[in-house]
Structures are given as C-alpha cells and as structure tokens.
Amino acid sequence: MKFGILISEGPYTHQAADSALRFTKAAIKAGHEIDRVFFYHDGVNVGTRLSIPPQDERNLQQEWSALAKDHGVDLVICIAAAQRRGLLDENEAKRQGKDANNIADGFRISGLGQLIEMGILSDRLMTFGD
C-alpha cells in the first residue's frame, strides 16, 4: 500500500515529527511504500542542517535524511511555508538574494501542488501535526 505523510510541526517542540518518523519506519518494515513526506507549517524546520540537538538526544533531521538515502523516500518541503520560516536551498537563496542556505541532504523544496498530488496518488494520507 502507498502511504503519503504530512508533517505539520517542527522538530523537538512537538512530538509530531517523531511520531511521523516512527510510523514511516514501521510502514517500510511492513513492506508498504512511502510515496512522499510533505513538510508544511513549522514542519519545514525539520529540514535544516544547522540544528545541533544535545548529544544524548535523537537527531530528527539526520534520521529523515537517512530514510531518504536508504529507502529513496521523497522529502518535500513546502516553498511558501519555508520562505516564511527561513528555510532555503541554494537556488532559493540565490534567487532571493540571501547569503546562506540551510537545507539538509535528502530534502527538496517544492510547491503545495506536491501535497495535493500526494493525496491523489497515495492510498492513504497520514497527517502528523498539532
């Protein structure tokens, strides 16, 4: 079965990004396909490579990036939500005249259409938010 995952809250502040990660891992383990993970609202902040959680805590960005690498999970950050919150890739930074970018490996920035498409193409859409 094809799952689409929507994550609406940032890492650490709300458990939503953790719950989504555990659900995704369990779904992959059960042989399901993860069509796409879409990061919206503060969820875009999961994709920053500049976070440094305490050493005895989990690193959510790295865990998601590993899922992208190991299982080809498509991690899409909403461009409109990302701009409001200061999450940029190299192209966006250039286009907007910003001197730095902060997106992590395995994440890509795209439009809200990718969320709707995920809703159309996946068998089940799961939302994790607040």
């Binding site: 439009g111 259409g113 969320l115 709707i116 859409l125």
Partner: protein, 136 residues
C-alpha cells in the same frame, strides 16, 4: 492523473490569526483547486470563526485573509459546510458569517450560496464519505 477524481475534505477547526493554520489551510485549498478534484471544506469548532464578517486586522499588523474566502467560488470551490452546533456554542448564527457565493454556469450563471449550514450528524456523515481528509 486527470482520470483520478478523489473526494478531498479540508477540515477547519481553528480560529484565524492566533495561529497560522487557517491561512495556510486556505493556501492549500487555492492551490488544490487546480487539480480538478471533488473538494469540500468543513468548518466546525473554532473553525467557524474563520468565516465571520467584519474582520479588520489593521491594528494587529497581521494580514486580513478573510476576503480570500469570497474568491473561492471563482476557483470552483463551492461547498463550504458549516456546523450549526459549533456556531450555537459560540453564540453565533449564520447571519454572522460572510455571504459567499458561486456562479452556476449550468443555471445561466445564477449566484448560489457556497455556505451550507449542516448539523453535527450530517457533518459526521460528510467526514465519513471522503477519500482524503486534510486537517491543519
């Protein structure tokens, strides 16, 4: 993809301005309108506050996005279900809501109301009868 038509329900349970969810939900609805799916919007609990008349955000410095609901008809988003019990619990009636309309091209472009007041039992049925529920 044009062959797949799914029933999408956008569930709105949060008040506007205190948090960004109402605005960013509306942005999804506007983008989603281009995909030619069967779209409905549900307004219940504090979500009914999104549709009230007379919102004026000048003094709080936040953008007033309530006029955007009036544009939904042009995007062929014409089914806005508002829960009666949620209005009543908040001391509101249908008169407190903006008048939202759409033009029915199959009926000589007659203006028809987009807001449909339904009760809780009907809301539960609406929710049960969907392919995708998006809540923010």
């Amino acid at each position: 993809m044009s062959e797949t038509v799914k029933k999408f329900l956008y569930v709105n349970r949060k008040a506007p301005y205190g948090t960004i969810y109402a605005l960013e939900s509306l942005e999804v609805v506007l983008i989603g309108a281009a995909f030619d799916q069967d779209v409905s919007l549900a307004f219940l609990d504090d979500g009914v506050f999104q549709l009230t008349k007379g919102q004026d955000t000048k003094e709080i410095g936040v953008k007033n996005f309530s006029p955007t609901y009036r544009a939904l008809g042009d995007y062929e988003v014409t089914k806005l279900y508002v829960e009666k019990e949620s209005l009543a619990e908040r001391g509101l009636s249908a008169d407190d809501l903006q008048e939202l309309v759409w033009e029915d091209e199959d009926d000589d472009y007659a203006e028809k109301p987009s807001i449909r007041i339904i009760d809780r039992t009907e809301m539960a049925k609406l929710m049960a009868n969907q392919d995708v529920v998006l809540s923010f």
